[in-house]
Symmetry: C2
Subunit: 299 residues, 2 copies
Amino acid sequence: MKLRDIGEDRLLDRLLSRLSLGKKVLDGPGDDCALVETRDHQNLLVIKADCVVAGVHFLPTANALHVGWKAMMRPLSDFAATSAVPQFALITLIAPGKTKVEWVERLYRGLSRAAKRFKVSIVGGEMSGTAGPVAISVSVVGFVERNRCVSRRGGKAGDDLFVTGRLGGALKQKHLQFVPRIVESRWLTRNFPIHAMMDLSDGLGADLPRLAKASGVGFAIEMENLPLARGAKVDNAISEGEDYELLFAISPRERARLFRSWKKKFPKLLLTRIGSFSRLSTRNYQLLPSGYTHFQQPG
Amino acid sequence: MKLRDIGEDRLLDRLLSRLSLGKKVLDGPGDDCALVETRDHQNLLVIKADCVVAGVHFLPTANALHVGWKAMMRPLSDFAATSAVPQFALITLIAPGKTKVEWVERLYRGLSRAAKRFKVSIVGGEMSGTAGPVAISVSVVGFVERNRCVSRRGGKAGDDLFVTGRLGGALKQKHLQFVPRIVESRWLTRNFPIHAMMDLSDGLGADLPRLAKASGVGFAIEMENLPLARGAKVDNAISEGEDYELLFAISPRERARLFRSWKKKFPKLLLTRIGSFSRLSTRNYQLLPSGYTHFQQPG
C-alpha cells in the first residue's frame, strides 16, 4: 500500500500509537501541539513543528514573503488552538541549488515579520539541498499556563460550537496572509472556561469530526448559520480548508456573556455559534445537502 | 546569485544576523543548539532541528530503519556538542504519495529506536506530500544545566584539542548507524572544565576552523596524530565528514588526568589529542600536504 492510498490521520495514529511517550508527556501526537512537563510547575512546555512544501502549500510562483509568513504562521495557529504563548522558532530550509539567494532572503523576511508579530525569536536555522521542490519546516517552542491549556478532548454533549471569522475562499489569497488567532484564544481562556478547541486548517468538514472524536461526542451543525467569506458557498466553507480560524466548544450557559464580551473586545471579528455537540449514542446524522457525505458522522 | 554559489555558513550568518533575538536567547543561530532562558533558573532550555533528504543525506535505496536512525541521531549529536540532555522530539515527514506505507513504518521504527536509546519521547508527527524526494525533519527539545553547557566559543590559545573515536570512511556505512557521543559529553562536563566543543559533521577540515573562529583563536594540528578509521587516509579524515565524533578544547593542565580517567571510563573508545589552539595573531599556517589549502587558516 502507498501513502496516497491511506489517510494521513489513520497512518499517523498507527505510527505514533506504538511509541512509548514517557510520563512527562501530557498531550502528544494527534493534538494540535505537544504538551510536556518541566521543572516549571506552573506552566507546561508547548512544542509544535509544521512544514510547507512548494506545489502543496504554495505555488512555486508565490511571493517568497508570503511563503515565509505562512510557514511561520501555520505552527503558530496550533499555538492558538492550545491557547499557548509561542516564544522561540527554528527554521529548516530544504531548497535546490538553483534557488535564488534573493528568494531565500525574501523568505526569511516573511518568516521574520511573522515571528515579530507575536514576539517570537528565531533562534536557529538549518539548510539542506534537494533535487525536489522547496520545503520549509518551522518548529516552535513556548508555554501555556497549566490552568489555561486547551486540547481537543474536553468537549461535552450540549456544548455550543463557535467559530471565529468567516470560512471558505481562503485558497485565493488569505492562506498566505492569515493571522493566527492567538490574541483571541488567549483572551478566551483568560475569561471563559473553554472545553475544547482547535484551529481549522483542513476545513470544517474534516476538522470538526476530529474535534468531536477526540471529545467522544457527536455534533449537529446549523448549516444556515455558517459564516461564509465573501463569494464563498457552503461547500467552500466545509471542504476547502486553510481558514486558520478557531473552532471551540463551550457551555451554553456562557453564551450570552461570551457574545457580549466578544463584541466589546473584538468588534471587527465575527464570532458565530454554528451548532452544538451532542451525545454520541444518538444517531445524529446531519441534514446536509447531498455531496457532503464525508461530513456526516454516524453516532 | 543562486544558493549553490554561496556558502551555507555565509548565507545563514547573513540571514540570521538580521534577526532580533530577544534577551532570553543565550546561544542562537550558528551554534550547535539554541539555548534559551526559562523560569527554571538552574537549567537552560535547548532546542535543535535538523533534516535528512533522499539523495543528499542518504541514498534512495538505503534501509528505511537506518534512515530513521540517522534522522533522529543528527540533532541528538548537536545535543552531545552542547552537553545537553534531549527529552522530546517532533517528526516532520515530507514524502511523495507513491512512498510505500511499509517504508514509512520502517522509517518510524528507526526513529523510535534511536529515540529510545537516549530516552527521548517522540511527541508529535506531521506529514506532507511532495513532488520531490523524501525529507525528514526532526526537532528536539531538552535541557542543560547552566554550569555544564558548552558552546563553540570558549576555546583559549594554548588549549589542547581532542577528538573521540576515529575519523574518515564514515560515508560507507557509519553515517547511517552512528551513536551520538551524548554519554561521553555528559561525562566530560561532569568531570572536566571543557572550554569549547562541537560535533564533527562536515569533516575536521570544515568544522575545526568554525570552532577556532567562534573562539577567536588559531589552531595547529599534528597531522600524524589524526586517529584514522580502518582503511581511511588523512584526506578522508579531513574532508569527508559524517563522523559525528566530538571535537573539544581543554586546558593542557587537565591532559594527564583526562587520559587516565577516560581510559578507565571508556576503555573501548579512543581519545586522541590532535593539536592545540594558538593565538590568532601569530600567523600559524599549517604544515599541511598540498591540496588541503581549504584547511589552512590565516592568523
